[in-house]
Amino acid sequence: MPRYAMVTDLTRCVGCEACTAACNTEWSVAPGFARTRVKHTGALGQFPNLRSAFYVAQCNHCDEAPCVKPCPSGATFIAPDGIVKINKELCIGCGYCVEACPYDARHIDPGTQRADKCDFCASRLETGLQPACVTTCTGNAKFFGDLEDSSGGIFRMVYGQGAKRIQSAQVAVGPNVYYKGRKHEPELVAEVFPPRPPRMPVSGQWWGKVLLPVAGLMVGATFAGQAIAFFRQLGSGEERFEE
């Protein structure tokens, strides 16, 4: 089984957002939202001694994805190949995963009222294609592949060329999107765009312990429809979050 990962070379990235446009048109992402965006650190320092870098933000498909646990319906899960996926049939649009994601890589699609985010273009992978952002990248800055494949480029970049995860002492959840650069770029990005602590619903533990197993049973017993309706109702209420 592969373990998928992505590497972005920030020296090569010029911030053109071909990736965003490819992703938005590939997946008909809701207007005003995106599964991946390129952020800019801004010019840091004092004129004329300035530094800057682009940061290609997207779902990091974390080993310990904080978005999985607060999901009350079990819609968000980690697939065996490492891709963090959303089962849209199960999603109730409660938005807990959006709050939980340290990389702000999720949104609720206002049309479908479901959570949405990058899934490494899983259906493209099935037809032998690379993710749309990788294929189109004008700077040839994005690389995708199997971290288990020791002969592959991703393996080499991560284990041989020092591609780094964007993590912090507070938030280290094993992201599988790595960043490299010839110069200062990865360090600058980690400094300017550190992951934020996940915000979990105050009642999350209660849901996690009690409701999820029940939901699992109900789904298993073909009561899925009722279960989803039940959770939708729950999800529509106001909820407090804490870090």
Binding site: T11, C16, E17, A21, E26, A34, G45, T135
Partner: protein
């Protein structure tokens, strides 16, 4: 010729889709979002680079566009605009039917009419103007490849007056400057061997914000390989953020820097002595001339420390000949732009970088066929825009737009009474907008051929709605300025929407109405394509299935054969460091630095540029691209903004020296720009209410460019000579 037949055979075996080409759009099976779709190989027109695209079609609609991996230049990559082409073809604001003006010009009142009436109207107007004033009184403003059919029509009609902004508002000075030096213009895509470069020098060229897919791929590759990057720009651009040296030059002083670099290269023997001895003339004159232009001299003018001038010159010298001095694209800045391009060409020559790996490579002719037509009638009068006369080095093929507008206003040397604009918005692409509007008011008639209801169309008498690039055939894209030259097709992926028509169809229909059929001796797209491709020993079925076919190139001096002709087709047959042509014209044979006025206290110079997700004013209305960048911002130095009590996000208006005031725009207070200038991305602040997403979003730089400094050699409009101030009143 290197042809890989394997994929073609696969496609051919796929079935009738390919064979059905005559009946309509062609295609091959493909996938989109897990569904089976039809894929059509074509080339993009979201800008003029024409990257290879695969349009994915489902139920007669383009649902997605990806790069075509078989395209020899762009190798399957597309920029944001290329990906977003799907939102052009499906734009609800598109022009769908011919429209005839019913209200006053500018009032935007039209009635829809049929093509028969529309073409009849235009033919009658053209013939009436020809009868009363002569054919030359019709002027044509083209943009882009697809204009070729109309250019043929205009020449056959008998007018030489065709002028495109691509020359006098864009690349003209560099084409002239490099042709004076090396004997040939650069052309587009510019033949830069960025992949192999060890040092890259950008002078106001903002690669990364100015995105041409293959050029960015090569640029990024070079940076990842450790190429040294020197960026000269008053603004800390994307490229500056990646540079080894960012030189925030005082605007307008680039020639001083270039002369000082030459001084160091020659003074420290860092130039390519053998190359210069073998290929160049005028070296001794150059040596004597640049002796006084020391780094210390240049520091005072450019505000770049002499130490950095020396360091960067040495970096170039060490990397030679693998140095790309990027010639830039929009280079009409100060009116001495041909001379600045000359200085860049001379610097390139000193580094031995022309015709060498890692520098500028040489074009390879592939000898495509042409449409055999009778010779065009010889116009009875000279061009009206001064190309070839008042502006002796202006291209007579591309013309001088501002000269044409001037002639229309003055009626001299003779009246211009009818305009046809194709594929562009003259109000945004040519400066001094008010003069353009005034010139239109003097016309008997003005016809616009376009895809979208852009601003100029409000002033048109007749609007002809063209099919988008995804719905039409265009003349094939023959690229000789690639290391492996190639030919690529544009072919329809879907049928034209509404009552839109391809440009070739419109031009051919007009030829029938004007009795000029002899210049259109082909039946339709396939017939036309065969005439061009004929001599190339290329299977057109294969070409259409794959989108492009490439050939062997001879890009470097050592590859050249006698069939390539003279290495340096200048008057002397050598690289002219000292230009004999300029000397004859009484101009400076070696570039001279000219001091331009700085902004008065309280004013700042207006500079402008591009964003990677937009092509001029053409894409602001595109749903996806508008989502990525809905409006522009005004970059202001942080301390200047602070002194005015302004911070990022504040909405202001800008006023120029002639009292022209912009639409509201947001401030970006940043360290990333000098204090003496402000910057904004071009193309915003459009005034066409029918462009629902672009209408009055952001501010237009072009409206504020009410003054120009015209290049006396080629007529280009230097546009960085306008000063602005920020109106302190903050608007909500």
């Amino acid at each position: 010729m290197a042809l890989n037949r394997r994929d073609w055979m696969k496609v051919a075996a796929a079935g009738p889709a390919v064979a059905a080409e005559a009946a309509g759009p062609t295609g091959r099976p493909g996938h989109h979002a897990g569904r089976r779709v039809r894929e059509v190989a074509t080339n993009c027109e979201m800008c003029f680079w024409r990257c290879g695209a695969l349009a994915k079609v489902e139920d007669g609609r383009v649902v997605r566009i990806e790069g075509n991996p078989e395209h020899p230049l762009t190798l399957g990559r597309l920029c944001a605009r290329g990906n977003a082409g799907v939102d052009l073809v499906n734009d609800p604001d598109r022009l769908m039917r011919p429209m005839l003006r019913t209200g006053a010009r500018g009032e935007s009142k039209f009635q829809t009419i049929g093509w028969d009436e529309a073409l009849g109207w235009l033919a009658a107007k053209m013939n009436a103007t020809k009868a009363e004033y002569g054919a030359e009184s019709v002027a044509f403003f083209p943009h882009g490849v697809a204009a070729g059919f109309f250019s043929t029509l205009m020449k056959a009609f008998g007018t030489p007056n065709s002028a495109e902004p691509a020359f006098a508002q864009c690349r003209g000075p560099r084409e002239v400057g490099y042709a004076l030096t090396f004997g040939r213009a650069l052309g587009s895509p510019e033949p830069l061997d960025l992949m192999g470069a060890k040092a890259i020098v950008l002078i106001g060229s903002h690669l990364g914000e100015n995105v041409f897919t293959s050029q960015i791929t090569a640029f990024s590759h070079a940076l990842a390989q450790g190429a040294k990057l020197i960026v000269v720009d008053p603004r800390f651009s994307t490229a500056a953020g990646k540079a080894d040296w960012w030189l925030p030059i005082r605007p307008g002083t680039d020639i001083a820097l270039l002369l000082a670099w030459m001084n160091v290269l020659i003074g420290e023997d860092l130039h390519d002595e053998d190359y210069i001895a073998k290929y160049a003339s005028g070296f001794s004159e150059l040596v004597a001339y640049v002796k006084v232009f020391t780094p210390a001299w240049a520091e005072k003018i450019t505000e770049i420390p002499a130490r950095q001038i020396v360091e960067t010159a040495r970096a170039m010298g060490q990397a030679k000949p693998a140095v790309v001095i990027h010639p830039g694209r929009h280079v009409t800045w100060y009116g001495d732009d041909t001379q600045r391009a000359r200085a860049m060409a001379i610097l390139t020559a000193l580094l031995g970088a022309y015709g060498r790996p890692g520098g500028i490579f040489l074009p390879t002719s592939i000898g495509q066929g042409k449409v055999n037509t009778p010779p065009f009638p010889v116009p009875k009068r000279d061009r009206a825009d001064g190309a070839g006369t008042r502006y002796p080095l202006a291209s007579e093929e591309q013309g001088v737009t501002n000269g044409m507008i001037e002639a229309t206003l003055s009626g001299k040397p003779y009246p211009i009474k009818g305009w046809i604009a194709y594929g562009q918005n003259i109000l945004e692409s040519v400066p001094q907008r008010e003069r353009t509007i005034e010139a239109i008011s003097k016309l008997d008639w003005f016809v616009a051929v376009d895809v979208l209801p852009v601003e100029q169309n409000r002033y048109a008498d007749l609007i002809l709605p063209e099919a988008t690039y995804l719905e039409r055939y265009d003349a094939p894209h023959v690229v000789e300025t690639a290391k492996k030259p190639f030919i690529a097709v544009r072919q329809p992926a879907v049928l034209p929407a509404g009552d839109t028509k391809p440009g070739w169809w419109i031009a051919k229909q007009m030829s029938k109405r004007l009795g000029l059929e002899a210049w259109f001796p082909w039946e339709g797209p396939d017939d036309h394509l065969n005439l061009i491709v004929g001599p190339l020993n290329v299977n057109t079925g294969e070409l259409k299935a794959r989108g492009a076919v490439s050939f062997e190139g001879r890009p470097f001096i050592e590859d050249r054969t006698p069939e390539d002709g003279q290495l340096f087709p200048t008057p002397s047959g050598k690289i002219e460091l000292h230009s004999s042509t300029l000397k004859e014209l009484g101009a400076d044979p070696i570039p001279r630095y000219t001091e331009w006025a700085d902004p008065p206290p309280g004013w700042m110079r207006l500079i402008y540029g591009r964003a990677p997700m937009h092509s001029f004013s053409r894409t602001i209305n595109n749903a996806t691209l508008n989502g990525l960048m809905p409006e522009n911002a005004l970059w202001v130095n942080e301390s200047v903004a602070k002194s005015m009590g302004l911070s990022s996000g504040d909405r202001v208006r800008i006023e120029n020296q002639d009292g022209i005031v912009s639409l509201p725009i947001s401030i970006l207070a940043t360290q990333a720009i000098r204090k003496d200038c402000v910057y904004m991305v071009h193309g915003f602040g459009q005034d066409s209410p029918r462009l629902t997403k672009a209408y009055r979003r952001g501010a237009s730089d072009n409206r504020l460019i009410s003054r120009v400094q015209v290049d006396p050699l080629m007529g280009g409009t230097g546009m960085r000579v306008n000063f602005v101030r920020i109106q302190r009143e903050v608007v909500s």
